[in-house]
């Protein structure tokens, strides 16, 4: 599989970034949900510390992914009606925006809560805002709302990919998979 994207499929770098982020997002939703259900205590502190570390990892991967995409255009979309083309661009744009917005609102929220972020105990990140109770609660609401929006976009993304693969039979799904189609 080529490193760079071709006209037919994504290259290994784009695929690795895509699937690494998929796995991390599943981890993030799980940790976020677990932390939400835990009472204040050490377990929640540890769960959230990991959630933040993975979140910053996603932010870094999203930056790399966006740069890679700018210098290495994705394969063109298969033939499809104009509205589907527009929908595909909108949902991809939305997903990218959320890959940045989720970690950034999380980081902002940690700063406003006066719970600074450490990336796996290796580096402490600077605070983005000063501690502020009101702001921290608003950001918490935004972070949660966006997580639901992300869930919606991801579901749409998966359903669209499956529809192309199994109903339109245009092998779109194989463009993001390492093995050869057919």
């Amino acid at each position: 599989m080529p490193v760079r994207n071709t006209n037919e499929r994504y290259g290994s770098v784009a695929q690795a970034l895509h699937w690494a982020i998929v796995v991390l997002l599943i981890v993030q939703f799980t940790l976020g949900k677990i932390a939400d259900d835990l009472p204040p205590g050490l377990d929640r502190l540890i769960t959230l510390a990991r959630h933040k570390s993975f979140g910053i990892t996603i932010l870094a991967l999203a930056v790399i992914r966006l740069l890679w995409r700018l210098f290495n255009r994705p394969p063109p979309l298969p033939p499809m009606p104009g509205w589907q083309r527009v929908a595909a661009h909108l949902s991809h744009g939305g997903l990218y925006a959320l890959l940045f917005a989720m970690p950034l609102t999380g980081w902002l929220m940690s700063s406003a809560h006066n719970y600074p972020v450490s990336w796996f105990g290796l580096v402490q990140l600077p605070d983005l805002v000063a501690p502020d109770r009101g702001l921290s609660h608003s950001l918490e609401d935004v972070h949660e709302l966006l997580s639901n929006v992300l869930l919606g976009f991801a579901a749409l993304h998966v359903l669209a990919a499956l529809k192309h693969q199994f109903i339109d039979r245009d092998n779109l799904l194989l463009r993001m998979l390492p093995w050869r189609g057919r």
């Binding site: 204040p40 205590g41 921290s136």
Partner: protein, 185 residues
């Protein structure tokens, strides 16, 4: 010239003898903060209510005396949940031990800094502790700025799961930047 103003000026001079001067400070004197490590990240909290009494003349440090009382229920880390945990029996146990007290009578200078060795009483436990600080004296104001590094576990601050130093650092740095005023008798 106004006679009363002149008298007031003399009174101020008279109240400025060379002996160990009593200074004092309360909440308005400046920040009294602590920096702790939680999940590998440093955060800062503060104590809103405290009282400092400092009888000190740099020329006669042996006669000096420093007393600090901190009202632990005024612990503020900008997060209600964490504040509640810190005030609970797991940490400060403010219900049983509402105040932390530091008392020192030994002072020595090293370079520009002073070191006060004394005893800190926290959560019912008394342990030796040292405070390092600089002094800047101006008319009617004594600037006192410095810090103290305290280990929380010998005081029992952090019980049960909170004894883990992997997630909550043992060392806590208390720092202050105070403007003390002449004590009113």
């Amino acid at each position: 010239m106004n006679v009363r103003a002149l008298l007031a000026a003399f009174a101020l001079l008279a109240a400025d003898p060379a002996a160990a001067k009593p200074w004092q400070g309360d909440a308005g004197a400046g920040p009294l903060q602590f920096v702790a490590v939680q999940a590998d990240a440093k955060f800062t909290g503060s104590f809103k209510t405290y009282d400092v009494r400092f009888d000190f003349d740099p020329a006669k440090p042996a006669a000096g005396r420093l007393d600090v009382t901190v009202t632990l229920a005024t612990t503020d880390t900008a997060d209600e949940e964490r504040d509640a945990i810190l005030k609970s029996a797991e940490f400060f146990w403010t219900e049983r031990h509402p105040q932390a007290k530091f008392h020192a009578t030994k002072f020595r200078r090293s370079g520009k800094r002073w070191r006060a060795d004394g005893e800190l009483t926290l959560r019912g436990v008394t342990q030796p502790a040292a405070v390092l600080f600089t002094l800047v004296e101006k008319p009617q104001i004594l600037g006192m700025k410095g810090d103290a590094t305290i280990r929380r576990l010998p005081f029992g601050v952090g019980q049960g799961e909170w004894q883990s130093t992997e997630w909550i650092g043992d060392e806590v740095v208390v720092r202050f930047d105070l403007k003390l005023k002449p004590a009113t008798p």
